[in-house]
């Protein structure tokens, strides 16, 4: 159906038309992949202990989603619909292998910390969800915009959560101490006044609670998003 739509308005659409811009901006707020569509939670929560990991993970997802969307969108008329899931999985898996090898070669520390979660980008629901819902039925350019929008929407939640967790859990940002140093004997900054890091923040359950609070804030600002139950 979308094919016909595209044909009827062939007189080309400007690259940054309102519709295309909406594809990028929507997932940032009102249609956010994490807080509204509830996709890609698995990896989002586990690796947000430090900002660095959150950033690397977001970039990895951006890469995979962007090139995956392009590939699927180019192949969309060739893929038989019965085996599309397998085709999509193969595309994601090959892109994730590239990411994994690149990370292991250039950022070995981060790669080690992310451990299995790089591999789990394959089953990240955002990616399969976008392939299925968007790239299978749209041209390349809108698919690129959609990929950018969704991965930015994913990234900002990830980075926000990891900033909160790193700041209060380890008192640093990007590994740079913010509140001073807690080392006994050479304390400085806030720690001299008895400030302590909140170790809860580093533990897995706090990621869930922080995302819960983000959802709370977002839904109280936009009443339309409130669920019945």
């Amino acid at each position: 159906m979308s094919e016909e739509l595209n044909k009827t308005k062939k007189p080309s659409e400007p690259l940054f038309s309102k519709k295309n811009k909406k594809l990028v901006t929507d997932p940032l707020t009102d249609n956010n992949p994490i807080t509204i569509q509830v996709l890609g939670i698995c990896s989002a929560l586990a690796i947000t202990v430090q900002v660095e990991q959150g950033l690397v993970m977001s970039l990895a997802v951006l890469f995979v989603l962007l090139f995956g969307n392009i590939t699927i969108s180019l192949l969309r008329n060739l893929i038989p619909s019965r085996i599309r899931i397998i085709v999509q999985l193969v595309v994601v898996a090959s892109l994730v292998i590239i990411v994994d090898q690149l990370l292991a070669a250039f950022l070995p520390d981060v790669s080690e910390k992310l451990s299995v979660f790089v591999g789990l980008i394959i089953t990240n629901c955002i990616i399969m969800g976008r392939f299925e819902a968007f790239a299978m039925g749209n041209k390349v350019w809108p698919s690129i915009m959609d990929a950018l929008g969704n991965s930015f929407g994913y990234a900002w939640i990830l980075i926000l959560v990891s900033i909160i967790r790193e700041l209060f859990g380890s008192g640093s940002f990007f590994g740079i101490p913010i509140f001073g140093s807690p080392l006994p004997g050479e304390e400085w900054g806030l720690y001299t006044m008895g400030y302590m890091n909140n170790n809860m923040m580093i533990l897995p359950p706090m990621a869930l609670i922080i995302v819960g609070v983000i959802i709370w804030v977002q839904r109280s600002r936009n009443k339309e998003l409130i669920e019945e139950h």
């Binding site: 586990a46 898996a93 090898q101 591999g119 394959i122 399969m128 869930l208 959802i215 019945e228």
Partner: protein, 233 residues
């Protein structure tokens, strides 16, 4: 060394798929509205994990690992195909899910009626691929250990989803602040349950206790350890 029983108990409680690693969260949040569907999906996850992890274990040890091809030809002992593991694992998972679906439909129609709609969902459930990747990372020494791990993780996942579904059924009658209703409160509840499950981290495994244990602890816990020891230092 850890015994098989240790691995099994650990996979259920202290390294619970949901509460310690957040694997399979998408379907966990989407399908936990009623206990009945939660039981269906949980059972399907146990089933598929139990089948796929041992198969992937054999694949890893006789095909992908460095030197794994030695049994075919001694000259191939230096070949390391582990970069292919993602694509192999996901292919195995997807095809086994497909196979299981057909078999169940043919031989156990009643079970198919109960699991039916959940089986295809499972191919892209993070916990299944996660199980295979953890198996690869932890390098279990026998297939028995790997199977114990997979059944344990499945049961852990089952417990988690049934518990949250039961809570969600009851919470309908509570006065939750409007913006938190649905998703928000589920996140916070899962967080609280995760804190409760952390109590199981204190279980002492193996004969020598925690010292042996350290090697197999995974990233998440190591991160905590690092930051804690940094402070103590």
């Amino acid at each position: 060394m850890e015994s098989t029983l240790d691995i099994f108990v650990k996979a259920i409680f202290s390294e619970n798929m949901i509460f310690a690693y957040f694997l399979g969260m998408c379907s966990y949040l989407a399908v936990s509205k009623t206990v009945k569907t939660a039981v269906g999906l949980g059972a399907a996850v146990i089933f598929v994990l139990t089948v796929t992890v041992p198969v992937n274990y054999l694949l890893e040890n006789y095909l992908l690992k460095e030197g794994a091809l030695e049994w075919l030809n001694p000259e191939w002992s230096e070949i390391d195909l582990s970069f292919l593991s993602f694509i192999m694992f996901i292919a195995v998972v997807a095809s086994i899910v497909q196979l299981v679906e057909m078999l169940v439909e043919k031989f156990a129609p009643a079970l198919y009626g109960a699991l039916g709609i959940f089986l295809p969902l499972i191919a892209v459930n993070c916990s299944i691929l996660g199980g295979a990747l953890f198996m690869q990372e932890r390098q279990y020494s026998t297939i028995l250990d790997a199977t114990a791990f997979s059944i344990g993780s499945g049961i852990g996942w089952f417990i988690a989803i049934v518990a949250i579904a039961a809570i969600r059924e009851k919470i309908r009658y509570s006065n939750v602040p409007a913006p938190l209703r649905g998703l928000g409160i589920t996140f916070i509840l899962t967080g609280l349950m995760g804190i409760a499950f952390m109590a199981f981290m204190g279980i002492k495994y193996g004969k020598d206790g925690d010292k042996e244990d350290k090697g197999t602890k995974t990233t998440q816990i190591e991160l905590v350890d690092e930051t804690l020891t940094a402070k103590i230092d």
